[in-house]
């Protein structure tokens, strides 16, 4: 009896070990430089999701192993790190990515190595409009933000609009999308000024005075991160927010902006972020915020929630595919009219044609309360997913 027992045990052990092999996910985030705050929240969100998934036994009985690397927001570094993750770390999936230019540079690797990429932050609409088979975006993109902003702007009693945005792809495309859409909805609006400070500028004074001189009634802006923090503080000094009736920024409600500004945030800015931690008022969302706070000691920013939801959504696709193989996962994302996932922020549905997730977007006006050391959103406006569905040229 002893003779065959030991080899059997060994074989069983090997088989078990084989099935216990982790599913490796290589995550790229900006972990150094001015935007490291975003990469930090993104990687924390992904980490929390991985811990939850592993606590319930992993996916297909295999644990998730997250390997987080710093892409520095630099396309060259991003490609180098992604290649290293694929070839040396042998990851099954690529994940994350904050910068649009990094996402566009890394995307071709998905065809080269047949390794799917799930993008949770980079927002250029071009990424999904390239129709690559193994690229998926589980967060909303900049065009959806611009369309949501236009839907709200069309209801405001103002005609004279101006723009101040960072001078690169994201800023330019967002403004084009916004003003084109707004003019469709409200043909009577006019553009009185466009200002394009360098991305990462630290002095906005001359842009602010030039804007104020054009006397816009409302200003659209996609300044984000430190740019928005610094702009808001300087503009306040000029009395800018008293002169302009509406200031509209689709990425202004990021906690990476509101927390450093603290009590200095002007009130009454119409802002959004891809997720707002106090919305929706559901048990699901409250549980997520609580778990995140307990784990990391801060409120989840939009990037944290998007990475969290993105990893859960990927896990669901793998489960549905019963495989980590690229084509099987692709079919799982596309099947039945697109994969659906109920994230803390609400329902996410992937459009099968372009692999872009659509979801409702939350906007609101900034307001200070005694409950938080930073401004929160009041008079919330929810733009339903249907208002942001733009046509795609992709076909599957």
């Amino acid at each position: 009896m002893k003779g065959w027992f030991a080899p059997l045990l060994l074989a069983l052990g090997l088989a078990l070990a084989q099935s216990q092999q982790p599913i490796k996910i290589g995550a790229l985030f900006i972990l150094s430089g001015n935007f490291a705050g975003y990469g930090k929240s993104g990687s924390q969100g992904a980490q929390l999701a991985a811990e939850e998934i592993n606590a319930r036994g992993g996916v297909l009985g295999r644990p998730i192993q997250l390997i987080v690397v710093d892409d520095q927001g630099n396309p060259d570094v991003g490609v180098r790190e992604a290649r290293r993750l694929i070839l040396q770390e042998k990851v099954d999936f690529l994940f994350g990515i904050d910068s649009s230019s990094v996402s566009l540079a890394v995307a071709p690797l998905t065809d080269e190595y047949k390794i799917p990429l799930v993008v949770t932050h980079a927002a250029t609409p071009n990424l999904t409009e390239q129709c690559r088979p193994y690229v998926f975006r589980t967060s909303n993109n900049a065009r959806m933000d611009s369309w949501a902003a236009a839907a709200l702007a069309a209801t405001l009693p103002v005609k004279r609009w101006a723009n101040i945005g960072p001078d690169y792809e994201f800023g330019r495309v967002s403004w084009q999308d916004f003003i084109t859409r707004l003019k469709q909805l409200r043909p009577d609006v006019e553009v009185v000024s466009e200002q394009w400070p360098r991305f990462g500028s630290t002095d906005y004074a001359s842009f602010i005075t030039a804007l104020m001189r054009a006397r816009p009634e409302a200003v659209f802006s996609t300044l984000w991160a430190g740019d928005m923090v610094i702009f808001a503080r300087q503009a306040k000094q000029f009395g800018f927010f008293n002169q302009v009736k509406y200031f509209v920024n689709p990425v202004g409600a990021a906690l990476e902006v509101l927390v450093p500004l603290g009590k200095e945030t002007p009130e009454g800015l119409l802002v959004s972020a891809r997720y707002w931690f106090l919305y929706p008022n559901t048990e699901r969302n409250k549980a997520f915020v609580e778990a995140y706070r307990k784990r990391f000691g801060e409120y989840p920013s939009y990037n944290a929630q998007e990475a969290y939801a993105g990893l859960h959504m990927l896990a669901r696709a793998i489960e549905k595919a019963r495989s980590t193989q690229a084509d099987a996962v692709k079919r799982a994302f596309e099947a039945d009219g697109g994969l659906v996932y109920d994230a803390p922020e609400g329902r996410k549905r992937m459009r099968p044609e372009d692999h872009q997730v659509f979801e409702g977007l939350v906007w609101g006006y900034t307001k200070h309360t005694p409950d938080y050391p930073f401004a929160i959103l009041e008079r919330m406006r929810i733009v339903p997913a249907t208002d942001t569905i733009y046509p795609t040229q992709c076909k599957r």
């Binding site: 430089g33 705050g37 200002q195 990462g200 500028s201 630290t202 001359s206 005075t209 610094i230």
Partner: protein
């Protein structure tokens, strides 16, 4: 109304120039006297901002004391860094000083991230400057006038120091001929420590003075050092007045560019730099290199 507006725009340009001057004059001075290209210059500017934040615990009422403390700390740190690190590369090829100062930049960025985190640190406007001034009926931040004044006073004191004191004369002499200066019995190593300390102190003061208008981030060092190099290339390395001229030119070009050609505003400083390099590669107020035989 329009004339007033142009005046206002000029003033904003000058305010920007003031910050650029404080940032870049030390870079120019250090290169001039010591021949060191200090890539870490922006890092000390960043440290100035973080130190003001730390010394005052982010409270506006400690602003003035904090500013003085930053100036003093900047000098001490600069002198310390020169003694411990910079001193070792004078005799070596230039690659070594670039490697060394670039390493300092990376180390300081990581230290800042370690102690202060990756987020932005904002500092409230000091009470004295809380409200805007009204110039010709248009609001203008009173803090900008303070910045212009601070830069003007610094330039004046620096000018007096360099051109009216013995120490200043030695520093100017060091830019010309170090060996002769040593032969005359001047303690050149000590002189270098002082120059480096003063340059770093000014950069730190610039970073701290900017904090109420901007925010401190671990990435600001790299942006700052690029700006400083642009100013110094335009004005001429090794020249205090060159740094002043370069800063004022950049400030005005930016302010007026935004008015007339907003689409191209960010190109102007670089275009100005390219033009300078083409026509006067040694900078507007720099000295052309001596012909060696």
């Amino acid at each position: 109304m329009d004339l007033g507006f142009y005046a206002l725009q000029l003033l904003t340009g000058l305010a920007y120039a003031s910050t650029l001057f404080l940032l870049s004059v030390g870079l120019s001075l250090i290169f001039g006297a010591m021949g060191i290209v200090n890539f870490a210059h922006g890092s000390f500017y960043m440290l100035g901002a973080y130190f003001l934040y730390a010394f005052t615990r982010g409270q506006a009422d400690g602003f003035w004391g904090g500013l003085l403390l930053v100036l003093a700390t900047g000098f001490v740190i600069g002198a310390f860094v020169e003694r411990i690190f910079i001193r070792r590369v004078y005799a070596r090829p230039e690659e070594y000083q670039i490697l060394l100062t670039y390493a300092l930049l990376l180390i300081i960025e990581d230290l800042v991230r370690f102690f202060f985190g990756t987020g932005y640190r904002a500092f409230p406007m000091p009470q004295a400057f809380a409200g805007p001034l009204f110039l010709l009926g248009t609001p203008f931040p009173s803090y900008y006038l303070f910045l212009i004044g601070l830069a003007a006073v610094s330039a004046l004191l620096l000018g007096i120091f360099l051109y009216r004191t013995r120490l200043g004369a030695w520093i100017r002499a060091a830019t010309q001929d170090r060996e002769m200066l040593e032969a005359l019995g001047v303690n050149v190593p000590l002189l270098y420590t002082v120059v480096f300390g003063v340059g770093i102190a000014l950069a730190a003061l610039g970073g701290a003075a900017l904090l109420p208008m901007q925010a401190a981030t671990p990435g600001m060092a790299v942006d700052a050092v690029i700006n400083a190099f642009i100013v110094v290339v335009i004005g001429g390395l090794a020249s205090v007045w060159g740094a002043l001229l370069g800063a004022v030119l950049i400030g005005l070009v930016q302010a007026l560019g935004v008015l007339f050609l907003p689409e191209w505003a960010m190109v102007f400083p670089f275009a100005l730099m390219a033009l300078t390099l083409l026509l006067r590669p040694w900078g507007l107020l720099g000295r052309p290199p001596a012909v060696r035989t």
